[in-house]
């Protein structure tokens, strides 16, 4: 075998991922004077952010002057079942309005109020209409605006490049190893600061709204580099994904359908959500159809419809209805907006939903109800970072967006994701750039030995030549395992079984081999992704077993109640070298949740 040659690129800051958080981080780092590169696995502008539909939550107060950051903070914390990192929730609520206006400054065109301000829409868990939006394609608007901004600033973008490893010099980040998907050739980035903005992990489940890119690369890279993951048991199942046809099972149906008046019904035609209002939200949820319907126009004197409870509650309720045999023909429930809003209204407010159902399911949502069911959507857990700077435990390693943990606690509110990307993407970029500046000439160096080892591991699937395991088959087995055993409702025995199966898959994954060469070979790409998916799935299962309570998105059939003790505990996962010097193993640990200062804590009490 000829000796491997690498392209070399020196940068100050390398951002991995070109979704909302990555682009925002890169823009900020570049503005701060750092030589910045963006690496993305797909073409620029295709990242999963593009799929976000509903809007960006920010207390602009354009429609409801009563709204402000304190209300947003409270909604976020309560939606997260108080397990959020309070400081992140505070920064998020305070800074998101400015981040939204920044987008407008760069050319974004949000829908407008009659007075010509940015319009805001209702969403689950938010006290006031708060989501800045563009129809139901807000994510597209956001990614396009940021992408165009990054291009205008002349930031270097490396497209269709996959990162396989983070390289260190002692404790500090020294660079990144990646390969061109097109040629299979390796690229080395020498950069003292790396921002992980790789998004989610949903591709390890069978029914998911996530694209193939959501393989948890950033989570796995962080673990392998010595950083910790936080609360990985909290995986959000979005209540409304398509269920039919099978080809599109899991595809997201935006929460805006409910925000704009849609209701959930079972096979008996009943608006069943009134039966599932939990004690925690009783005070702020309407208990009659009449009150719920009045709320859309008069929020001051009425309480929110139960369809707009946080996502975890709605997903569980739908699950219960289906289990009780009151589901729709294809195993979901009905989401009905046709009988409640005019066809013109629906087409204007929800154009992509109209299009999606028309094209893919032959359903006209202005005439018929949709069939929907829960779909794996978002991971609240992620890399443990400092709230203000987004730095992980590894100096030089930053994380922002879905890959970072803490912000959303046990459950994320709709709309808080896009604002999270902007607020913490910017912070990560800012602090990464200032960290590099502080280094001066003392930059970390990449070691040749690390590089050789990392390249060897990446090339393994192409070299075994035995064709023992098919990566596609392994991926499918992993998806079935996670779907069946670590899904919405969990129980100890099943999680144990999942942990066993994942271990077996990990062993088999070392024997994966693929045909073809290194040039644009998806089989090889999947083999490498699979390694990350397995590690992250293992993390989810271990954390799910550890947390012996039901809270937010984590529901244990064997521990159905919320436990105040667990309300003070984070679950931290790290890769620790085995005592006998063998392969590092994933270890768990409980860690006290930081306590909010009194002036913030009091915002969470009582009725508002």
């Amino acid at each position: 075998m000829p000796e491997e040659t690498y392209e070399h690129h020196p940068y100050d800051v390398v951002v991995i991922g070109a979704g909302g958080a990555g682009l925002r981080a890169a823009v900020e780092a570049s503005d701060a004077g750092a030589k910045t590169a963006i690496i993305c696995r797909s073409l620029l502008g295709k990242a999963h952010t593009v799929m976000a539909e509903g809007g960006i939550a920010a207390a602009l107060g354009n429609l409801w002057p009563e709204d402000n950051w304190k209300v947003h903070f409270r909604d976020t914390m309560r939606g997260g079942k108080l397990l959020n990192n309070w400081r992140m929730a505070e920064l998020h609520a305070k800074e998101s309005p400015d981040r939204v206006l920044e987008l407008e400054q760069w050319g974004a065109l949000f829908d407008r109020t009659p007075a010509g301000k940015i319009s805001q829409r209702d969403f689950g868990g938010h006290r006031y209409a708060r989501l800045a939006h563009v129809g139901d394609r807000t994510g597209l608007e956001m990614i396009r605006t940021l992408q165009q901004r990054a291009v205008a600033l002349g930031i270097d973008v490396f497209m269709e490049l996959t990162v396989t490893d983070l390289l260190k010099d002692g404790e500090r980040i020294a660079g990144v190893l990646a390969y061109w998907r097109e040629s299979g050739k390796f690229v080395v980035f020498e950069s003292p600061a790396v921002v992980l903005a790789t998004g989610g992990i949903g591709k390890s489940w069978k029914v998911t709204s996530n694209s193939w890119e959501c393989t948890g690369d950033g989570h796995a890279l962080a673990l392998r580099a010595g950083a910790a993951l936080l609360n990985m048991e909290f995986v959000q199942f979005h209540p409304t994904g398509m269920v039919w046809p099978l080809s599109v099972r899991g595809l997201l149906v935006t929460e805006s359908v409910r925000g704009d008046g849609g209701v959930l019904r079972n096979s008996e035609g009943k608006r069943f959500m009134f039966d599932y209002i939990p004690e925690f939200f009783k005070a702020e949820t309407a208990d009659s159809v009449e009150e719920a319907d009045r709320w859309y126009d008069d929020k001051s004197n009425n309480r929110r419809p139960p369809e707009l409870l946080p996502r975890d509650e709605v997903a569980r309720s739908i699950n219960s209805e289906i289990k009780a045999g009151r589901g729709s023909p294809h195993g979901g429930v009905f989401l009905d907006i046709a009988s409640r809003r005019s066809p013109e209204f629906i087409k204007r407010r929800l154009p992509s939903m109209y299009h999606q159902f028309k094209e893919l399911a032959d359903v006209d949502i202005t005439k018929e109800p949709m069939e929907i069911g829960p779909t794996c959507h978002y991971v609240m857990g992620g890399v443990e970072v400092d709230a203000d700077t987004q730095v992980s435990r590894v100096p030089g390693l930053y994380a922002a967006g879905e890959v970072a943990g803490g912000m959303h606690g046990a459950n994320r509110l709709g709309g808080n994701s896009l604002s999270d990307l902007l607020v913490f993407g910017r912070r990560a970029g800012e602090f990464a750039a200032s960290y590099v500046k502080s280094l001066g000439a003392g930059r970390p160096k990449i070691s040749e030995a690390d590089l050789k080892r990392a390249v060897g591991e990446a090339l393994a699937p192409l070299q075994s030549g035995k064709a023992e395991e098919n990566p596609y088959a392994l991926h499918q087995e992993l998806q079935e395992t996670m779907q069946d055993l670590v899904g919405i409702i969990r129980v100890e025995a099943e999680i144990q079984e999942a942990i066993g199966r994942i271990a077996a898959l990990q062993a088999r994954a070392t024997r994966v081999s693929v045909d073809g060469g290194r040039r644009y070979n998806p089989g090889w790409h999947l083999s490498l992704d699979l390694r990350n998916m397995l590690l992250v799935s293992q993390a989810v299962a271990i954390a799910a077993l550890e947390r012996q309570e039901s809270r937010g998105a984590h529901t244990r059939d064997d521990f159905p109640m919320t436990d105040p003790y667990w309300g003070t505990q984070n679950i931290v996962l790290e890769l620790k070298a085995a005592p006998d010097g063998g392969a590092p193993t994933l270890t768990k640990r409980r860690q006290e949740l930081p306590k909010a200062p009194p002036e913030l804590a009091e915002l969470l009490e009582g009725e508002h």
Binding site: S42, L43, G45, K46, H48, V50, M51, L101, E102, E104, Q105, W106, G107, L109, F110, D111, R112, P114, A115, G116, K117, I118, S119, V134, G135, R137, L140, E141, R144, Q148, V151, A152, M159, E182, S211, E213, W244, P245, L246, S247, V248, L251, L252, S352, Q356, E359, L360, A361, N470, P471, Y472, Q476, V514, D515, G517, R519, Y520, N521, P522, G523
Partner: protein, 253 residues
């Protein structure tokens, strides 16, 4: 209800290639991308295909299906002639990388040439006061998912490689139209779009509109509108006459 579907997929790279036949089981409600994935997972692990969301939102899985530029994820098998093989080829206008994947960097290079949004002196700092009726024309163009199907189908560069030097293509004309109609943008890009970006090469034969998966009225609402605005700035004899008397920008009101 499963049935056997025959796919004829072009496989190869810059050194040449040919059609390969795959017979895969297909189910009701499936799209072309499902069938391609099936072939990839079971018969051709290394079949190169670019895709992301499989929901018609990211614009990655562009290809030519039975000779027509389409998104593979939005083309239902039931919409194709039943019982016939489905031919799938890579985008023809761009250099081939491998199998169904082409090098679309032409488009990203053109994107770098767009003079960015620049707020007016009246409202230099967000929040801007802008009315829905003033933003909705540009909003239509911002629906673009950059699938490059319009760029691929446009004969100006599809049939004339040498025109790539002079011609930005429909996707960028809607971008220039979007900026020109932005209620708070100050730059005038009309001469630039005509003289440098090659708007004049377009002969409005509307294939871009025909293939747009987002149903953007590219020709009627963007390109023709832009051509008319360019006439305002460059060609209109009446406007020219008055402009000489009363010097002011043709686009001001």
């Amino acid at each position: 209800m499963s049935y056997d579907l025959t796919l004829n997929i072009w496989r190869g790279d810059a050194n040449g290639g040919d059609f390969a036949e795959y017979v895969v089981p297909a189910e009701e409600g499936q799209v072309v991308l499902d069938a391609v994935h099936r072939a990839q997972a079971t018969m051709a692990n290394d079949l190169a295909v670019r895709w992301n969301c499989k929901a018609g939102k990211c614009g990655s899985c562009s290809a030519e299906i039975n000779g027509r530029p389409r998104l593979m994820c939005m083309t239902r098998l039931s919409s194709l002639p039943q019982g016939e093989p489905v031919t799938i080829t890579p985008l023809r206008t761009f250099p081939i990388i491998r199998d169904l994947v082409t090098d679309v960097s032409f488009n990203y290079e053109r994107a770098k040439q767009v003079p960015a949004f620049t707020p007016t002196a009246e409202q230099p700092q967000a929040p801007f006061t802008m009315h829905q009726v003033d933003v909705q024309r540009s909003q239509e163009f911002r629906k673009c998912i950059e699938c490059w199907l319009c760029q691929n189908v446009c004969h100006v560069i599809r049939d004339h490689e040498e025109n790539k030097e002079h011609y930005a293509g429909p996707r960028f004309f809607i971008r220039y139209a979007e900026l020109d109609m932005h209620p708070n943008d100050a730059l005038d890009r009309k001469e630039f779009v005509q003289d440098v970006q090659g708007l004049g090469y377009c002969n409005i034969t509307k294939c871009c509109t025909e293939v747009c998966p987002e149903s953007i009225k590219i020709t009627d609402n963007a390109i023709i509108a832009l051509k008319e605005r360019v006439v305002d700035a460059k060609y209109d004899p009446v406007v020219r006459f008055f402009r000489r008397r009363r010097p002011r920008s043709a686009s001001s009101e």
